[in-house]
């Protein structure tokens, strides 16, 4: 006997009259079974509950009828909302990245050449923070370097300040873009299979390296990464399958340095690329 036409739902717990006139008595525990029937119909019931529902449905014609209604209703509900036609998340991320894109003008305005500090009086401090925090690409790093290279003499000329307050690394950056790149950039290459990356450092002063080590903040999607000094450089761990790491020491007072982890030469699909977060001075 198939329950196809029901005049009343199980929630009222009343008698059910079938299309052939046969009357069914309501299930004594219909109210208890109903949420489980929904879970089962929606595939949300665990294995044990599902088995119990199945056994009950085999025995109870009333709940079988209710289940048919529920299944039909939940199916229609799920079909009632279309899928979005476009990748909305991707569009949002594009918008965010565009909004937070690097702006050399804004950045150079934040640099105090005497102290190397990020100016906190900027009207777009939050934007700058986000800007700095989201730098994660080599191109961005290069823009940063070049921006500083041109910004430093510009700011000096405007402010007429001496260089006495600047740090050694910052002074080095004035000698030319190539020097800046050579002196200010730390390049590392993945050298082993134990999920670590060694940074090989060259062309940078000992004090600068100490500063880098003390101020470098590295995160991997929210996980802190330990920076350890080794005989041949610095080891960041844990970090998986990175082909190359580039870090740039800009200024100790900027409390940062930039950064990038190249994964393209290993696999463009790798998600474990990391970047070093850039933080404003406290």
């Amino acid at each position: 006997m198939k329950v196809t036409q029901r005049q009343n739902g199980v929630s009222e717990n009343s008698d059910v009259r079938l299309s052939d006139g046969i009357q069914l008595h309501p299930c004594d525990r219909a109210a208890d079974w109903e949420p489980l029937l929904y879970d089962y119909a929606e595939g949300l019931a665990d294995e044990e509950t599902g088995a119990a529902v199945q056994r009950h449905l085999e025995e109870c014609a009333y709940c079988r009828g209710a289940f048919a209604d529920i299944r039909w209703m939940t199916l229609a509900l799920r079909q009632s909302v279309p899928e979005p036609k476009t990748d909305l998340g991707a569009r949002v991320m594009e918008t965010i990245r565009a909004q937070d894109d690097i702006n050399g003008r804004v950045f150079t305005e934040q640099i105090d050449v005497q102290t190397g500090r990020v100016l906190s009086s900027s009207s777009d401090k939050r934007g700058i923070r986000r800007l700095l925090n989201t730098i994660g690409y080599v191109a961005a790093s290069l823009v940063l370097i070049i921006g500083l290279f041109y910004a430093v003499p510009l700011l000096r000329a405007g402010g007429g300040a001496s260089s006495s307050g600047t740090q050694e690394i910052l002074l080095d950056m004035q000698s030319g873009a190539e020097d800046t790149l050579r002196d200010g950039v730390v390049v590392g290459t993945a050298q082993n299979a134990d999920d670590a990356v060694t940074l090989q450092v060259s062309g940078i002063t000992e004090a600068g390296l100490a500063e880098l080590l003390s101020q470098l903040t590295v995160t991997l999607d929210g996980y802190s990464i330990t920076v350890m000094e080794t005989d041949d450089g610095f080891r960041l761990t844990p970090l998986s399958a990175l082909a190359q790491v580039t870090a740039m020491l800009v200024s100790e007072n900027l409390q940062v340095t930039a950064v990038h982890a190249e994964t393209a030469s290993v696999s463009p699909a790798l998600e474990d690329a990391f970047y070093i977060q850039i933080r404003e001075p406290q």
Binding site: G9, W72, A76, L77, D221
Partner: protein
């Protein structure tokens, strides 16, 4: 790989790691510190839910897409202000709700309201098209029947109170766990269950009046 802990049927929403920390919390913290990729992971978890909520707010795909993007952008801009006093989902649900209200207010001023029981041609075509695409030998009668059912269900959902519509959306359409729903709505799990029971009963009675089950 990050966040490789267990994921539930809700795409990891509300799931906790072995150390008891909510995965959303980790993503939120990382995003707050400027980790844009953490934010992307976060919105990937919720974009469908947001879209579905938006769809049942505005009634068509185009506006729902706009609203979805607006909500997600508000989340990004609002995240630095999230203090963590409330659960992330509870806070995010408020953003969704307020943005939906604002959107409707703006829409009402500029255009007449379009209700879900009058879906646009564009939307109405979609379920039919999807069914046809899925199987070329689908019974045309069944296609028409399903299309009609979709329309009836949308209209019935619109007749529910917002509270009832929300719990049905979250549970019966989105498949969210009771705990997740409770977190989003700031309710006890027991309250969610009882509200859901009443909402389903109401929806069923509306559908029955439309001969939906015949």
């Amino acid at each position: 790989m990050l966040f490789m802990t267990h994921r539930d049927d809700n795409n990891g929403r509300g799931a906790k790691r072995d150390d008891g920390i909510d995965e959303d919390t980790l993503l939120v913290r990382a995003a707050q510190s400027g980790d844009i990729r953490a934010f992307e992971k976060l919105i990937r978890r919720y974009e469908r839910l947001v879209y579905r909520t938006a769809f049942y707010t505005v009634g068509n795909d185009e506006d729902a897409a706009d609203l979805t993007q607006e909500i997600l952008l508000k989340l990004w801009h609002g995240l630095p202000h999230f203090q963590g006093n409330a659960r992330f989902l509870t806070w995010f649900a408020k953003i969704m709700r307020n943005t939906c209200y604002d959107y409707l207010r703006k829409k009402k001023r500029s255009h007449p309201t379009q209700s879900l029981d009058m879906p646009s041609d564009q939307d109405e075509d979609r379920p039919c098209q999807e069914i046809q695409d899925a199987s070329s030998d689908v019974d045309p009668h069944e296609v028409l029947c399903r299309r009609e059912c979709t329309s009836v269900v949308r209209a019935a959902m619109q007749k529910l109170s917002e509270e009832h519509r929300t719990v049905i959306l979250l549970r019966d359409i989105e498949g969210a766990s009771y705990e997740t729903i409770a977190g989003m709505l700031g309710l006890e799990v027991g309250t969610v269950k009882s509200r859901l029971s009443r909402a389903r009963a109401h929806l069923k009675s509306i559908l029955r009046a439309e001969d939906f089950f015949k």
